[in-house]
Symmetry: D3
């Protein structure tokens, strides 16, 4: 008897038989016989842990399921969950463990104690879902880990920009970038996701400001300049009223946060689209880029 | 020796004399002699309490100041303060005590316990400033009591509307109307007012949502449907993204709140403008009404 | 031989038979045999009066048509016609006779003799079609009686509003509200309706102004202030140039007319949409509400 | 004793003398002595008829006023009035008599009897004011005769256009062009003009449609296709809803009317602006041309 | 053996037979037997020259292909090509030879030597494609010869306009009109056409300016006022920034060029649409006319 | 006798004397006596070279001018001119020699030979004016060297961005950034500058594309993919049609060029504005930032 984890790829059922084919982490497939009625325990496209037993039929080794559990009832930790998600689904181009390491290195670089404390408090609350969640329903980064990968790419733009415009505050930018989309975890229900009721009626911008405030009240830091600035960056990060920000950016850091959010959401999508065509061709029209089609130049790049 | 309250109307000062003329509640004026140097204690247009002593000079009774205190250091209650403000400044067309009675009668009518508790909690925090504050800097209701008078007029529209459209929830409308502009108290600094730093960077819409949330957390009601709805009505009450609402109204109550807010802000201003001209004439252009000029019909009204 | 009225629900025809099934006012169905060729006299979904005769075939009572008349050639009065329309088609939530009684009570309340005379003159001309016509082709109130029901709901908002803003003229509001959409009768051809040529090229706003003018000329009142104001309210009742009003509202009454027209068109649609879902759900996107989806709160209302 | 007509250029008055200098049609000036008190009968910049008498003072011939009448109380006909207006004020580049002859030649070319009758009926009503009125308050053609000059320039574009696009109806274009701005006569009060109450609340577009309808009712032609089309061209001639047309052009003739109205209003202003600068220079910014500055090419034209 | 030219209308092919039916210039059809494999030489809807030989089968004369050549490899001149294109495809309402004669008559009328030289230089380069190319992919004039027909119609409007507004320079208008769309030849690939890479990334407006400049450099006229003006008219002929002009019209000629381009593109489409319906009807919605439907008046025109 | 260079700070002139005070490179001032009439040779605020001679008057050494030359007639090279401009006028925060070294280091990094050749060809033509010209008339970088300083800041953003989005072509970005504003040299006449005729009618975007094309034609590279891409980046670098780009960015490089141009123009202005206020304050409203006022956070930065 053996425990085995896989994603359901097909369910086959007749009047007197029932079996499923699952995808394993090593990309192999396995067919498992089920008792009649066990098929209601599984669902296409989801991950399950099976206890299986092998047996011989007509000189061929076959397997039957002893027990079946959805993966989130098995009790694995979030790192292992991240591994499984990346094994079975479309996912960010980096390993989630590397994204996490990268983001946390910026979190550690925050030297302002108020910004650090509040950012950590909110980050801790969302940490698990944050690394598995997609960034958006239909548009940019809509895959597992998309939310955190997007955040990490944005963080990488901060230092070069502050080097050119040194009047900007690095800590405030690190903190606000880490938190800016964190409430998307509650706004949408995941990759095949829909807006939640709260997401639809309040939105991640207001929900994010409420989270920052709640953490600050808890830590006794609610009246600080830092927290007010962090809330301002949160609510203004869509840049314009008609993109859902109730205030436009009114500090340099708020303005830059909008720019790097906007740049990363567009260029990541553009990269994906260009990747699927040949030089000299135009992409399909791209939603986040004003439905424009983009041309892939017929030039060699450095690395090519 | 006598205590007397008045608004400073002039300060007269020479090398060796100093006096002030003040306006009393009964619209009379009084001249008070000051010691040299006492003039730094007073300020044009503000209300002070004077201890005065009378004396005769050249057979005329005159008065000199024994002590001088700004009115907000005297220790009067908020009802008395409201009386003084209405006596000395441009103010709402109703007595503040009547506005207060009116608003509180709606507060009492809220039967849903969650809505009632949260509304009262926020209301109590702002009660004093709320009745003295103007509703806006430049546009509608910019006088003492303007904020509460505007709120009261809106409340009066709710019952007739719910009678015609009975699917609307009365309690939610009472609660949200009472609270919708309450954070203007922190957004602006009063009649001669400017935006505060927080007002400029966050705005009364987001500040109001944060206040509701804070009260709900304190009362243990943060996860209720009612509080989510109240926050939705708060953030959507400007109706459109480019008027500063991060979400558009998405419940019937939210939509009506926007309508009655919009109607009252426009019709109150219009009433003031029409009041200052004759039938058959056009008003000056009115800011809140798209800078249009309005015509005052040459017709008799019921009451005329 | 008996006269019977019904709506055609099916027409069945073979090489040597022909019959129709009709819906009766009591919601029962009746099958009537037709002579070959009589089927060209009837039309699916329309109301007809049949003279029928019963006969026995294989021991079953059957009916055959002696004569057939379209209902509008039978010579019934408009009250009876309204009853029939309400019996057979989707219709306003109130009986047309009640809507009519309600609207005429407001017409009677107009005390200004010029406004009363002109309003009655136009009203009389359109009275019959007015109570059967829908208010719009695709959007709000698109059912029999929709036009008059919409007008009645708007009239109910006038008194509460004038009570709060007493500078408004009640008579002008009653008159303009009764007439504001009256030319939709000529603009569109009914429920399954299309724009008429005149409706497409002139529109009910201009057609309405022409009707008022024609009535005023006939009554010798064309030069009065009242008629000019009524024409202004008519042409400005869409509120904004790009909604088809050649002038924006420039009197308080014109502004209110726009608001109550806009409120009723939106809230009636919203009520219908909310009625078809459960609390806690979102409606489908609603055309007249900017294609937004609305949430039905999970709260109890007074009446529930 | 002699009658003399002039425009008042100055009024000089002391404790015991009073005289006026007037401009005569031959551009000479004349000083006339007035009785004390007679100065209230005259007004700067207006035209008056004086009866004068000469007398000798210190061997110089001088004149005194026997009687004074405003020109419009003298009883001259409209042709003579047009001459005077062109003599004394800024005016159209053509003689009003020529403009009139030109416009009436197009009126005569209308062969459709309905269009001809209705156009003549409205034209007759406005004929006098039409030839003296400016076309606009601030923008294009704001001088005496501007309205008719603008109409005449537009008429000249019709034939070439119909030659290229022969599906257009010439008669409808002549008729609608002649009438399109006729109600400006009632919309504004003349050159130093302001909007009238009716002009402000209804506008020349709606007023024009009402005039056409009134004429058609009077002539028993109200139900004709021609009158409906004429009303459509009238109300759509501003081309777009947000320029005040309640309907957009929906026939070829309506579309062309908008184009030639728009072209003439812009090119006439442009011609005036270019006329005041040298080749190689830019004009001041021009209101009707989106506040753009225009360049005068350094090229020779045919006629130069 | 005979040479014959036709458009392929069908290709029929079995295991052991192959033939094609072609359309001839006289609208007759001809069936030609092909060798197995010859069918790869032809293409549906294109024009070919066949050498054919007749033979008798079952007493019927039949034809077989000896050789097959695409028409553009046959070596015919551009006039003959134009004839063929007009014979076989949807085409402009005038013969291409007449359009050409018309356009060249305007080219000859240019008296300014710089404008004439540059215009001829560019014109010569594009002359052949220019007369066969459609004016647009989806919208106006999308048929063979559409580009040149559109240009010719515009040219016809210039003289009447300059007669009314004589400050405009005739030569500049002739030159710019002839050249304004010439680069559409390189922007799109013909009637069934798509944008070329250059067309998509640069557009005919910029490409046209580059062509003018190149010709002027070659002729040593690059620094002249005329060439700068011609480039300005080229880049501003879409009239507004958001229609793709990097500068708005800033000379009278540039403004007129925009107007006549806009008028011809709309009225030509309108004429086509009205032509396909009866008086008293509305057209389908027309793309270049804001998707409006247009009404065809029930009036007689001159020529009818 | 000595040659001395200075900027004219005052000119003093009486009936029989004339002298000027000049500012020297070491910030000292010097008064020079002039012959009567020599004052017409100099101009306030401009730089001149004086030959002077000293003499004693009343025991004080004084100086008189022997000859006077405008600095651009003296024959100094462009490096020395840059030094003088930076000494006497408001200028970029870096030495022009450093900006030049920086920009040329990027020019050298271009490895694609076509891009390198064309970029160098255009660069060489503009090199002198490029380093002294301001970037804009009223808005960003309006000081000597502003154009090149802006270009240099943009170049510094390219490498970090390409590191994050490696599908972008570095060479194309270097080349297009160096050239993107080069035609501003011909579009405007310098710091106190106005638009030139060509600048007004064509604009630096089109002028830039023409320059690239001219250089490419000269080098025989006009048909290359690189040159087409470079022209596309040039014409699309304002990002949107209504900012004057006739095409929107349609390659990743074009999109990034727009972003870094936009970022640098905004953040440089913001830095200047924040520099002039204290932490905790708001700036004046800033033109290039939508006329918003920005808040300077009350936080310590790294370097402080």
């Amino acid at each position: 008897m053996e425990k085995i984890i896989g994603k359901i790829e097909s369910i086959n059922k007749g009047p007197n038989y029932c079996n499923t084919t699952i995808l394993l982490e090593d990309k192999k497939h396995l067919n498992i016989k089920l008792e009649l009625g066990q098929d209601v325990l599984i669902q296409m496209g989801k991950i399950f842990q099976f206890e299986i037993e092998s047996f011989l039929r007509e000189e061929v080794t076959q397997y039957k399921a002893i027990s079946i559990k959805p993966i989130d009832e098995v009790g694995i930790d979030s790192d292992r969950m991240a591994e499984l998600v990346q094994a079975f689904y479309e996912h960010a181009p980096l390993k989630i463990s590397e994204i996490k390491k990268g983001i946390e290195s910026f979190l550690k670089k925050i030297s302002n104690p108020v910004l650090k404390a509040v950012t950590e408090e909110v980050y801790k609350k969302y940490i698990n879902q944050f690394y598995l969640h997609p960034a958006a329903t239909k548009f940019h980064h809509a895959y597992f880990g998309g939310l955190s990968y997007h955040t990490y790419s944005m963080l990488k733009m901060i230092d070069p920009m502050v080097d050119i415009y040194p009047f900007l505050n690095r800590d405030l930018l690190y903190a606000a970038t880490i938190l800016h989309d964190v409430s998307k975890v509650d706004e949408m229900t995941g990759v095949d996701g829909e807006y939640t009721k709260e997401g639809q009626l309040l939105g991640h911008i207001v929900m994010g400001a409420l989270e920052i405030d709640k953490a600050a009240v808890k830590l006794g830091l609610a009246e600080s300049e830092e927290v007010m600035l962090l809330k301002h960056l949160m609510i203004s990060h869509h840049g314009m009223l008609n993109f859902g920000s109730p205030k436009k950016p009114q500090t340099g850091e708020a303005l830059l946060l909008w720019y790097i959010d906007s740049i990363d959401s567009k260029f990541t999508e553009l990269g994906v689209a260009l990747n699927s065509i040949e030089p000299g061709e135009f992409t399909q029209s791209i939603n986040v880029l004003d439905k424009m089609r983009f041309y892939k130049p017929n030039l060699k790049n450095d690395k090519e």
